[in-house]
Symmetry: C2
Subunit: 373 residues, 2 copies
């Protein structure tokens, strides 16, 4: 394939000269006003077809690709894109299947509306620079999975644009969507107690923005600034306490990143305990996968030697070996609804809902079984 020589030439020229033609130049070339050229692109009914064609021909000749989006955006006070703010490294959004599904949903919503989706890194651990946030040209924000004390959340809100909060504590005046993390987590733990387990271990993803891997005591758990972490641990706690198990005795291993590899460390620490837990609850499937992997490497069997329950029900959970018992939540729908809630605000319709809680459920598969201990 090759594009026509004309535009290829023009591209090279521009690369050297560093500037593109403007609407003004096209107008001069055709011998009309800028308004007319603008109309040729934006309001075809405002000029004769013949003139419109002449405009486009001149544009092509000059290598003019149409009105500059930034200038148009300034004039129209619309950028045509929404921003998604996500915790820490942006690449992380792509590494976590649950986040990927969430963004899949958001992107369906933006596509419906003909909007672009601007991904904004919440700042790497090192350089948490709000600059990129403040300079993001968007019409609104989806704020996803940020620590609740993260100054970037406030910074985003300060831009006074429509926004939607996802999996975060509500903030007055900002619609939010999520799940009842605590209730869902309770389901996971209750499933295990109902199978007779009394000896537990928990593998959790990070509790705070800058935390390190290791055991986390109750104070640390309760002070967690990621809502899902805090709420899920509380759910486990309440279910186990209700079954007469002392939460203070349940080891909670925090993994600094929500990737399977990190759970290997957790497994090492947890399997070395005496007595060894018969049941492990993980705050994500990703961690459950990594844990299962490590258990198998250690020569133990799931669920015979140790039961595992995850959280998220990502697609791989069903295909895992053994298939993972986990909590299902509708990730794609969460993204879709979040996107639509934001878009409804952009259109200055009333937001369809203001505080949405999506349903969750326990999915029983093969990774947890009755204990004989």
């Amino acid at each position: 394939m090759d594009i026509n020589p004309e535009s290829s030439k023009a591209r090279q020229t521009s690369r050297v000269s560093g500037r593109r033609a403007t609407l003004k130049e096209v107008a001069a070339e055709v011998g009309v006003s800028r308004a007319t050229v603008s109309n040729a692109y934006n309001r075809p009914d405002q000029l004769s077809e013949e003139l419109r064609v002449r405009v486009f021909e001149a544009a092509r000749r000059l290598g003019y690709a149409g009105p500059d989006p930034t200038a148009r955006g300034l004039r129209k006070q619309r950028t045509g894109a929404i921003g998604a703010l996500y915790t820490d490294r942006l690449s992380y959004a792509f590494a976590d299947p649950a986040a990927v599904m969430f963004f899949e949903g958001v992107s369906v919503a933006t596509e419906e509306a003909g909007l672009g989706l601007l991904l904004i890194p919440g700042g790497s651990l090192g350089q948490r620079d709000p600059e990129i946030l403040m300079s993001a040209a968007v019409d609104g924000f989806v704020i996803f999975c940020m620590a609740e004390d993260d100054p970037l959340v406030e910074a985003t809100l300060r831009r006074q644009m429509p926004a939607v909060l996802v999996d975060q504590p509500p903030i007055e005046g900002v619609p939010s969507i999520g799940i009842d993390d605590e209730a869902a987590a309770r389901l996971a733990a209750e499933h295990l107690t109902s199978l007779g387990h009394r000896s537990f271990g928990v593998v959790s993803f990070d509790l705070d923005k800058d935390s390190k891997s290791g055991f986390a005591d109750i104070d640390k758990q309760h002070a967690a600034t990621y809502l899902p972490s805090r709420a899920r641990l509380r759910g486990y706690e309440s279910a186990l306490e209700a079954a007469g198990i002392s939460w203070a005795d349940v080891p909670v291993y925090e993994c600094a990143e929500n990737v399977p590899g990190m759970a290997a460390e957790a497994a090492e620490a947890l399997l070395a305990l005496a007595p060894r837990p018969t049941a492990i609850i993980a705050t994500s499937d990703q961690l459950a996968f990594g844990f299962m992997e490590a258990v198998k490497k250690a020569g133990l069997s799931i669920p015979e030697d140790i039961s595992v329950v995850g959280f998220d029900d990502v697609p791989e959970a069903a295909r895992a070996n053994p298939p993972l018992t986990t909590i299902h939540q509708p990730h794609v729908e969460k993204g879709l609804r979040a996107g639509r809630m934001l878009i409804a605000q952009l259109r200055e319709e009333e937001p369809p809902e203001t505080q949405v809680l999506l349903p969750t459920r326990l999915v029983v598969r093969g990774s947890a079984a009755r204990t004989d201990h």
Copy 2:
């Protein structure tokens, strides 16, 4: 959590009034010129610390969150974001693990550079509207996995911005990056012939923008407008022909979408053939997974009854049951390098490379075995 009442109030006000404060208003409030307010944000060394603080206080009072990104972008002729153009539905980018890894790599590059990443749907099948593309406020484009005859590619290039082509035929003046799809595919097929297989079936993802699922004859294969499809099929062809197997006799089943579910259909069609193929080559791991699933449901064993080789080596390939023999390609690195090649152009450095081919290799795992037929 709650933000301070002041800005919370301001946000609500703005939601009603529909307008935010401007730099001009801040200047008036402080009693200085706009230049000074601008300097407070952009060139702290240009004014006294005391004045700068007064500016920020006034800004906060007025609910001014800093210079408007669009206006700044227009003035500076920089948007601070790059665009990623991807085939068809944007949500598809998130559904395909290989694409996800690619974008993960791109996002690492954009983060390094402090840029945003704007995801641009290549247009749904229905409304392939270049409008969204032409109105994307970005400084350059990564063009990923578009059909080579897709008018959006030309439209993008016509914007005369820095661009990088990924997994697509080269276009003069535009750096590109990819793999040698044909050679890599040959490796996959040769592995199978070396195991004694003589009876093949192929499961391919789509050959053209608007294709439907079904068997694809040679003419259709050679006319494929997705480079990876065309090149991989050619690779299989050349390896099999070299082994004395007539390619014309090899059934190629095209799946309209690169999702596991679609491969079930392919399996149904291919398994019904007499004689039944002993070896299946899939152009992606996603399709291989779906195929394996269907084979197992049909009561057959892999690799005993039928061998399967995939393409991509996504992480799940190693965890599949049996582990999938496949072709490895460095997805994340591809994205990272593509991103950096684009960013190098933005900085008006020479692009580091202009035609990059990344290495691939066969990864032998458990899904293909010697045939006894």
